[in-house]
């Protein structure tokens, strides 16, 4: 016959242990959940503000165990690429004879990059820029360049923040929430 008090103690201890663990995990998961919620909220706000579009969701989906740093990698690549291209544009416009052909090519490059990543603001700025370039309107080009730069700066700072949140989630042991993407319309 087992000692009832022993059993009780064991049971109680176990219960307490479980509770403690639960509490810890709960606290941790709370933290993670909070971070995750912040992540989701932040991302949705970026969509609502028209800074990012659906394409960014697709990119998030591509990040998995085989490719854990995908998003960060892509975002950094985008920053480097676009920064350099914007500088190239500035140099081109500062010339006496503006090389519109080169301008067009550079613009298409930026447009392609931004559309691949889903940076809608930059993409739209590029579209306007292309029109000005086709019209050979240098004044307009400078204005568009300003806008493109602004859009780029905005998206850069936002994505930086997002990446930071992501890093914190990973540090806290959580997983980055995957967005739900609309199934392709028939």
């Amino acid at each position: 016959m087992t000692n009832p008090t022993n059993d009780t103690t064991i049971i109680t201890t176990n219960i307490f242990k479980l509770l403690k663990e639960n509490l810890l995990t709960k606290r941790m998961s709370n933290r993670v959940t909070e971070l995750q919620k912040e992540f989701v909220y932040y991302t949705s706000s970026l969509f609502d503000q028209g800074i990012l579009n659906d394409q960014f969701n697709h990119l998030q989906l591509l990040q998995d165990e085989s490719n854990p740093e995908f998003l960060a990698e892509i975002v950094n690549l985008f920053f480097q690429d676009t920064q350099k291209l914007l500088d190239d544009l500035t140099k081109n416009l500062e010339q006496e004879n503006v090389d519109f052909l080169m301008l067009d090519k550079t613009l298409h490059h930026i447009k392609g990059s931004s559309s691949s990543i889903g940076a809608v603001g930059v993409q739209n700025a590029c579209v306007a820029f292309v029109t000005c370039s086709n019209e050979k309107n240098i004044e307009g080009c400078w204005r568009c360049l300003e806008e493109a730069r602004n859009a780029y700066n905005v998206v850069r700072s936002k994505l930086d923040t997002l990446l930071k949140i992501e890093q914190e989630i990973v540090a806290a042991g959580g997983s980055i929430p995957k967005p739900s993407v609309e199934p392709d319309e028939e």
């Binding site: 969509f47 609502d48 990119l59 591509l62 892509i74 298409h108 490059h109 990059s113």
Partner: protein, 741 residues
């Protein structure tokens, strides 16, 4: 004296008188001999002479006479008795022949005379025939004129030309002084002078139609001779020194289209006639001949026919014109409708995404909000937000669904599902609401309802939910009973839908579901309106129940898509209501266990989820875009190599790469050239990697160029994970993937 038997003439032969006699006798004899010779000669010449023997007799008579005179020559001197005897014989013979001839002539001469009469008779006859010939010729000419006139009249279909030509030709043929046509006015009470031959501008004379002469002319279809003093004939300014020529009038029937009834044709039920008046030249003393009158009648008939043809033509031209206008208007309306439809579709397409995105955001965030810590008031508020947004989302979905249903663009998503489970789920959803309202829900699934069926589960559930939901919504107390059974042919013959006679076969069966409630019922007059969109009968019962009025309309369309029928029966207000629908469901295959999925998508039967290290090559000049596509392909399990230029691509491509993705987004870059080069390098099709173009523009030109250079596919960016999976699957299966534009 010697006694000679000589006979002495009475007169001395030297006497002058004797000499004359002698000479005369000689000539007489000569003549007498030559006459028969002449006769013979001429008779021989003529072919026919019936009285030859008469001639012979006559000849003999003459010859003998001649002989007598000839012998007489010898009697002027002293001549012998022989001569005297010969003379006497000759005379006797002559006498005999002459008497015979005389006697014969009595018979002959009447004959000869009658020949003469016959000759006269024949001559008369010939003269008569000549005259008749003349007449016939005239008639023939008239006939020719008529034919020519008819031809002229019928060669045109223009009313005025017809009438003008008639008058001109008639005037010419009959050498008329004046020819006029009087047409009845619109009121039909007067005749108006419409056309004349000589006077170029007919003054608008009118003559009342109720004139005895006119009535006389109208009552017969012959040409009637009328007095020149008749009002219709008084067209020319009358000058007293003229003796007016004779006037003839004839009626010309005017036919309308409505008069063309085959049976009536000879009688002409119409009473509208025009009057044609023809005047012979004055002071010509010409008379109207019968044949001329006949000519006029014939012409009048022809004119009537020609006019009716012209009228038909006018009518048909008018109708054709009308049709053309209508066609143009219809075309315009159609184009407008198409534009409207296109505008609506565009609008819906945009709104679809635009509306759903914020809705999802609201719903997602509100449900997230619900999970955080809230004070009770906040919780209530959040719940209210959630409920409203769910309602709104449903409404949006309904409207979008309905518009897609109407387009016919909605397709059922058929699959195998568990019928019994579906019913259970629906009831589980409804039970809480029913129990709140304290309604009793009973279900009765017949035993022959199969467990599995093939159909669109989601939509069937939607219909069922809607119908049962309506029953529960509108019933305040009592019960709602749901019965489901497999419909047999006889039970399906509903009087309400006599054209719907479903036949069950081995492949499918008809499921009949009946939902009966004890609610307020529906006025039978309102029943047809139930299934129309947005129309809800406004009774106090349902004013507060909400709903968009779309539910039943959508149900009806779904049920119709499932080749079924839905209807509502109610005996009246306060007597409850029964909703019944019948849908066609497929019977799943008898093979045990294997649930064959209904592949409604014709594309691929199943999409691979991982491509097991499929080697692919990506060519893209844009770094970011390249990395994204690489990540995408790695995510679906491919082994990816990326290159940034066409040279690198051509260097790297080899047989081990199954697929090459060429990104066409950069300008001045010729992905097409690369494709051509790759194709050249790999001549055998199975060795060649599949070439797919990635492009951001959806225009036809790009696609055509892809096909032209021989690419195996063209895909539109942006590409999602699922899309990439299906693209690769289709590519590997069919070796081609061209997205519909």
């Amino acid at each position: 004296m010697e006694s000679c038997n000589c006979i002495e003439p009475q007169w001395p032969h030297d006497d002058l008188l004797m000499k004359y006699q002698y000479i005369s006798d000689f000539f007489i004899a000569l003549a007498y001999f030559s006459i028969p010779l002449e006769l013979i000669y001429f008779v021989k010449k003529s072919a026919v002479f019936p009285y030859r023997w008469v001639l012979v007799q006559f000849g003999a008579f003459i010859v003998l006479c001649g002989a007598t005179h000839l012998i007489n020559l010898w009697t002027f001197r002293i001549h012998t008795k022989t001569v005297e005897v010969v003379m006497t014989t000759a005379k006797v013979l002559t006498a005999a022949v002459s008497c015979a001839t005389a006697l014969m002539l009595v018979h002959i001469i009447p004959d000869l005379l009658s020949v003469k009469t016959r000759e006269l008779f024949l001559k008369k006859k010939a003269a008569d025939l000549d005259r008749e010939m003349g007449l016939i010729r005239t008639q023939e000419e008239t006939g020719r004129h008529v034919r020519m006139l008819t031809h002229e009249i019928r060669s045109t279909l223009d009313r005025h030309t017809i009438l003008k030509t008639t008058l001109v030709e008639l005037g010419r043929t009959l050498a008329l002084e004046e020819c006029a046509l009087w047409m009845p006015t619109r009121t039909g009470l007067e005749l108006q002078l419409a056309y004349t031959l000589r006077q170029q501008n007919p003054v608008g004379f009118t003559v009342p139609i109720q004139h005895p002469v006119i009535n006389q002319v109208f009552s017969s279809n012959h040409a009637v001779q009328i007095s020149p003093n008749c009002p219709v004939a008084r067209i020319r300014p009358i000058s007293t020194k003229y003796m007016p020529g004779e006037v003839v009038a004839v009626r010309v029937p005017l036919l309308h289209l409505s008069n063309f009834q085959i049976n009536d044709w000879p009688e002409l039920s119409t009473k509208r006639y025009a009057l044609m008046v023809l005047m012979l030249p004055s002071d010509s003393a010409r008379q109207w001949h019968v044949h001329e009158l006949e000519l006029v009648e014939v012409v009048a008939d022809q004119v009537a026919v020609a006019l009716s043809h012209a009228a038909i033509l006018e009518e048909s031209m008018r109708a054709q014109q009308q049709l053309l206008e209508q066609n143009v208007a219809l075309d315009l309306a159609r184009r407008e409708a198409e534009t409207a439809i296109r505008a609506r579709n565009d609008f819906l397409a945009v709104m679809n995404h635009e509306m759903r995105t914020p809705m999802h955001a609201i719903i997602a965030l509100s449900s997230l909000l619900q999970e955080t810590e809230l004070i009770p008031e906040q919780r209530l508020m959040v719940e209210a937000i959630l409920k409203s947004s769910n309602l709104l989302a449903t409404l949006i979905n309904d409207v979008l669904d309905l518009s897609r249903l109407e387009d016919g663009s909605l397709k059922l998503d058929n699959g195998v599902f568990n019928l019994h489970t579906m019913f259970r789920e629906v009831l589980n959803l409804i039970k809480p609401i029913a129990s709140i309202k304290k309604l009793l829900i009973t279900t009765n699934l017949a035993t022959d309802v199969p467990e599995f069926a093939v159909g669109d589960e989601k939509r069937l559930m939607q219909v069922l939910l809607n119908v049962i939901g309506n029953a529960v919504k509108f019933t305040k107390e009592g019960s709602v009973s749901v019965t489901a059974l497999v419909a047999k042919a006889e039970s399906l013959r509903d009087a309400r839908t006599p054209d719907f006679i479903p036949l069950a076969t081995d492949d499918h069966f008809y499921l009949r579901v009946q939902v009966k409630d004890s609610g307020p019922g529906i006025n039978p007059q309102d029943i047809p309106k139930l299934f129309t969109k947005f129309a809800q009968p406004q009774t106090p019962a349902n004013r507060n129940s909400g709903g968009s009025g779309l539910g039943l309309a959508i149900c009806k369309r779904f049920v119709n898509l499932m080749e079924g029928n839905i209807w509502i029966e109610s005996e009246g207000l306060g007597k409850g209501c029964t909703a019944i629908f019948v849908v066609k469901l497929g019977s799943p295959e008898r093979s045990n266990g294997a649930m064959v999925p209904f592949a409604s998508k014709p594309l691929v039967n199943h999409i691979q989820s991982s491509f097991g290290g499929l080697k692919v090559l990506i060519m893209d000049e844009n770094g970011v875009s390249r990395t994204v596509t690489k990540g995408l392909l790695m995510h679906v399990g491919c082994d990816v190599l990326t290159v940034a230029s066409s040279e690198e691509c051509l260097l790297a491509v080899s047989r081990e790469y199954r697929v090459v993705f060429l990104d066409l987004s950069m300008p001045g870059f010729d992905g097409f050239e690369v494709a051509v080069q790759i194709r050249k390098r790999f001549s055998k099709r199975h060795e060649r990697p599949l070439i797919v173009a990635l492009t951001g523009s959806a225009d036809r030109l790009t696609r055509e160029n892809c096909v032209r250079v021989g690419m195996d596919g063209c895909v539109l960016k942006p590409i999602s994970v699922d899309k990439m999976r299906s693209v690769l699957s289709e590519l590997l299966e069919r070796r081609t993937v061209f997205e519909p534009l």
